[in-house]
Symmetry: C2
Subunit: 404 residues, 2 copies
Amino acid sequence: MQGGIEVDRELSWGANYTPRRGWFHSWSNLDLAETRHDFAALKDLDLDHVRIFPLWPLLQPNRTLIDSAAIDNVLAVADAAGDAGLRVSVDLLQGHLSSFDFLPAWVSTWHRRNIFTDPLVVDGQKALARTLATELATRAHVLGLSLGNEIGQFAAPRHPETFHTTPEEAYAWNRDLLDTLTDAFPHGCHQHCFDDNLWFVDAHPFTPRAAVELGAETTIHSWVFGGLAQRFGNDSPKLPHFSRYLLEIADMWHRAFQVPADRTVWLQEIGAPSPWVSTERAPDFLEQSMRAAHGYANLSAVTWWCSHDVSRDLADFPELEYTLGLVDSEGNAKPAGERLREIIAADRRGEFTSQPTEATSPLVVEGLSLDATNRSLTGPDSDICAEWMTAACKGIYRRLELGS
Amino acid sequence: MQGGIEVDRELSWGANYTPRRGWFHSWSNLDLAETRHDFAALKDLDLDHVRIFPLWPLLQPNRTLIDSAAIDNVLAVADAAGDAGLRVSVDLLQGHLSSFDFLPAWVSTWHRRNIFTDPLVVDGQKALARTLATELATRAHVLGLSLGNEIGQFAAPRHPETFHTTPEEAYAWNRDLLDTLTDAFPHGCHQHCFDDNLWFVDAHPFTPRAAVELGAETTIHSWVFGGLAQRFGNDSPKLPHFSRYLLEIADMWHRAFQVPADRTVWLQEIGAPSPWVSTERAPDFLEQSMRAAHGYANLSAVTWWCSHDVSRDLADFPELEYTLGLVDSEGNAKPAGERLREIIAADRRGEFTSQPTEATSPLVVEGLSLDATNRSLTGPDSDICAEWMTAACKGIYRRLELGS
């Protein structure tokens, strides 16, 4: 690959915080000394922010009971991050983490109610949003909130217990809950987030329109196991371009819905999942993915998934989840973590060169509907994706355009 | 009703402990001062024991992670009961409480596995059983453990997310987990327990055979809302006889399976649910139910459901759950609590007279199969139940017999 460009903006670098001891179950039994130790390791990698994930059933075990001690725990972890010199973004409703679902009993089994449309459930979520956002707003080191980690997957066709929701309902849910956060925390940067089903699955009620119109910025979760690696092969040279492909997908929808040209995109999750990315290739995959993303002018931040490997003492995680960390389960920086530190240092010196952007070579997605009911035209199995990836491997990132 | 008998045995009197503040969500944020306050109120009613209910997802958030702090909380509550002069029975797997289900994420949605038959899940349950039973065995005030509050309902046809289980599998699960408890806590009195679906629903994989053959004693949960009140009417004079009907049902199966004649029965749950029992009738219903049960010679204990009313601050409980307490949500003894105290005092003086037992008038259940596949022949809607209740209202408790 020849050439390269230098983009003139301050990029923020961070990690999705997965507590080293006890994973997110540590919320039940919080040990702040452990938290501080974890954050020190991340600061040592020169990260500037973390994204944190409370568990919904602990925050709100009953619809009308917001546990003040659980709220205090979130504030304590956020403040520990601040003390370590890290800014913090907080995900509200978990919801879903690394294959495990955490729904409170009051929306499950005998009490099953749609978490996106049931008025009482949504009122409960808003009460929690107000409570947590009001507290977090008092912290200068808190950036804002996301609605919940990929929570839209509870409405996705593939979920084993789908809450059936229309696109209009999903849009309204995102909009109204973001408004609640903004009311309580006006200076915060609040988002909603989703896996790439939103961009690529025709029947998903969470839509590109919601992705690009709602929230302070558009978010991207870049995972090559969603079809790309299966199509092109493990360790394919196409894989590190996927982050940029998703950024260009978002950019296409930005233009389609005529959002302000300066709307930024947060690459909120990206990781190197084994075996699609082999362990020894993880640092190179990370660097190449960063170069690919870095050239996108409206990129605001990159947040690696994840901070710490899940301990093998914990059972039943998908195999890939045990090795995604920048830091291992003993607390030692891994090669991917070291590589990220080098990249951040280079970027801060203005010496991290991006892959080139070729804006003069549009790739038109013929027939793509604004309502996204045929968005699989751009999915990892599509002709468009293959054509885009072929050019990418020749150093050209084509600009995606909706056909007429 | 004429006559009455005095049964010569020491009956144990207690309550199912429903924490006054925060219900069972208080486990997440345990305030032992509150616990001690609650237990003092129960001791003030002259109770001698409580049954307590940890939440499974807190004890074991991951299959291989037993949270030592959550175990410590159970021990602390058990010890607070001991300090108050109350003995304690602990339910292992909640599981289910007052319409809410609490299953850990590692057996739910993406990780759904049968909690009665999946070998890894059952191994995890046994690890928890060993851990908790080993600790509880060191406490003289701990009576033993039950496997989990009505946990068999997760295999019942009526559950919205039934774990399909055969009678053989259900029997083996009960047996093996009870063996695990006994190995770890040999001097404990361990049981399994169930709602009356076990006695009356033909397709239920948890069977009368398991009820009467497994565990240190047979348990009974007596709830008139399971069909009896719907059939005979709210506040029907038949309702207080239901506890005794269930005891006679258990006794019939004892004889059918030739269990030792001295096998005791614990009336582990009985309550006065509104509107089937009107609020002003609750104390009389309690007293009449106690008289009805008291005459059953092998009764070992009565445990009222429940200790404390659920606070109206908590949402989404079925209406009846807010008013079942002996003590209200402000901490004041209710008329039912006062009445129970009087009964206990009379019983300890040897002055509490039971309803008579008429053992000379057998009622034969023709065609009832030992495998219980037609056990609805004895259900609240059955002719047998109606005939038994008619005699009961004339002062005769007929002995139920399997037909040939």
